[in-house]
């Protein structure tokens, strides 16, 4: 972990129209800094705006106001054409492994898609080698290549999603509730995989979850969100031992109760 920033948000606000003139403010004046090589966890109950914040950071949606600074450049105001080069450097692992993989594509094509979009491989052989290498990185067998997503279990599908996310050697990956759809033993495997990949590839990781025990396992720092605002941000140890905000205490009580 260094003190170099990879991505930061400055006073970002995003609201959605909910019919008529009413607006729901999903992300309200949020600022956060993320350093190279760290795993920052974004925690909060569902509907608190953490997924929206992730999509804002990835520039999948546009912020109403505020800046998203990636590697020194404000990407929030760039048009799609100019954001594109940054897409190569940040990738996302989604919540539902079943719907984030195209059911009509083979695993080979799913993992190769980013390579094809960016034309990073000169030949078919090179691409094939890279796909096999990625498959190995996420502990899947080579026989998986020519199968379709529905032929895999949830955990295996999520591995395929991770292989796709790391295909372009990104600097940042955003995991949006990436293990919440999996059962506990599989969750542990995927978390270990993410931890290992982070170390091997030097990734920075924004890890979004509602589950504090999962966060405890993987995060360096934790950022607690409530109602579209960040209510606490601290190193993992201090969050668990000495929570400052009422809401964090409430969340911690909830896991110790269960």
């Amino acid at each position: 972990m260094s003190d170099e920033l990879i991505i930061s948000a400055k006073n970002v606000t995003k609201s959605f129209s909910i019919g008529g003139n009413k607006h729901h403010i999903a992300v309200n004046d949020v600022s956060l800094d993320m350093y190279k090589g760290e795993t920052l966890a974004l925690v909060g109950e569902s509907g608190c705006g953490k997924s929206t914040l992730a999509k804002l950071l990835m520039r999948l949606i546009k912020a109403d106001s505020g800046e998203i600074i990636f590697d020194g450049i404000d990407i929030s105001s760039l048009s799609e054409k100019y954001v594109r080069p940054y897409r190569k450097r940040m990738q996302m692992v989604f919540q539902d492994p079943a719907s984030s993989l195209d059911p009509r594509m083979k695993v080979r094509d799913i993992i190769a898609e980013p390579l094809k979009v960016w034309k990073v491989c000169d030949s078919k052989e090179e691409m094939d080698d890279r796909v096999r290498e990625l498959l190995e990185l996420v502990d899947l067998k080579e026989s998986a290549l020519d199968r379709y997503p529905h032929q895999f279990s949830g955990g295996q599908k999520q591995r395929i999603g991770i292989a796709r996310a790391i295909a372009l050697n990104p600097d940042l990956i955003v995991c949006d509730e990436s293990v919440s759809a999996l059962d506990v033993s599989v969750q542990a495997q995927i978390l270990n995989l993410l931890k290992r990949l982070k170390k091997e590839l030097g990734l920075s990781c924004l890890f979004i979850s509602h589950d504090l025990s999962v966060v405890n396992f993987i995060a360096d720092r934790v950022c607690v969100m409530h109602d579209g605002r960040i209510c606490e941000m601290a190193a993992k140890e201090s969050i668990y031992s000495d929570p400052k905000s009422e809401y964090t205490k409430y969340l911690l009580d909830a896991i110790s109760a269960s």
Partner: protein
């Protein structure tokens, strides 16, 4: 390995297809009709327009399987030549209508906003005019012929197809794999060609199969009314239309083409329904 799995998913489709009685029977009937009408010139020694005024209105038999009509033409020959026209009408305009409807629907779903509004209002306008009325206007302006029947059928059908395709495309667009592709940096065209169209395919197959019978039926109705295909060209609808005055004296003249229309339309309808069941997105096995 590669081949094996490709075969597996095709195998699943084939098995579901073979288990569906309606699908199998209608496919067999359709194939039989296609083969017979393609081979029609070799199956009969009569000419479809050749008149034989001495043998008018002959009942079936005597070398004429379905008898002869009011000008002594062989009904069997004419039915199969008419079927050729019906098949052409069933397939060709439907392919074009599905193509136009797909482009319109996908564009509307993808570009949203003004493009969506304009395309869908245009489709609404088309849908609000009764199809037959629209076809009549086209046919009166362009004159009755095969080409103008095809044009009017495309105009009749694209709107409905565009509406269905748009809603299916919207549903696919909401899927996370489309977001995933966008987050990778894939462009709009990439997403449409690689993700939306392949996932739209089952819907398109069903739309196509279900629109074939309605095309056939529309052409028959228009020709029956005398504004579609014009003699001396042969058409099943035209045959039923011109023979209806002999309905009581020589019922075979009307029955033969009418039964053929019935067979064609029913078979394609059953096939379309069966395919819709088999390709149901819920199965997700294909």
């Amino acid at each position: 390995m590669k081949k094996e799995n490709r075969q597996k998913s095709e195998h699943e489709f084939l098995r579901a297809f073979l288990q569906n009685k309606a699908a199998v029977i209608s496919t067999v009937i359709i194939l039989l009709i296609i083969i017979l009408s393609v081979l029609a010139p070799f199956l009969t020694r009569y000419d479809e327009t050749g008149q034989d005024l001495l043998n008018r209105l002959m009942p079936p038999g005597n070398g004429h399987i379905f008898g002869t009509d009011e000008l002594g033409r062989d009904v069997f020959t004419r039915v199969f030549y008419g079927t050729r026209v019906s098949l052409l009408i069933g397939l060709f305009p439907t392919v074009l209508a599905v193509a136009v409807g797909t482009v319109a629907g996908v564009c509307a779903a993808h570009f949203k906003g003004a493009a969506d509004f304009i395309i869908m209002r245009l489709a609404d306008v088309m849908l609000s005019i009764p199809g037959m009325l629209l076809a009549m206007v086209v046919l009166y302006t362009l004159g009755g012929s095969l080409t103008s029947v095809i044009i009017s059928l495309i105009l009749m059908e694209w709107g409905g197809i565009a509406v269905v395709v748009r809603s299916a495309a919207l549903e696919i667009q909401e899927c996370e794999y489309v977001t995933a592709a966008a987050s990778i940096g894939a462009g709009k065209l990439w997403i449409i060609l690689r993700h939306i169209l392949p996932n739209l395919l089952p819907t398109l197959i069903v739309l196509f199969t279900l629109n074939i019978p309605s095309s056939i039926l529309s052409e028959s109705s228009l020709s029956f009314l005398g504004i579609g295909i014009q003699p001396p060209q042969v058409s099943l609808g035209l045959m039923t239309g011109t023979s209806r005055q002999y309905l009581f004296s020589s019922p075979h003249l009307v029955l033969a083409p009418a039964v053929m229309i019935l067979l064609l339309v029913l078979s394609f309808n059953f096939l379309g329904d069966a395919l819709r069941d088999i390709l149901d997105p819920e199965r997700k096995t294909l």
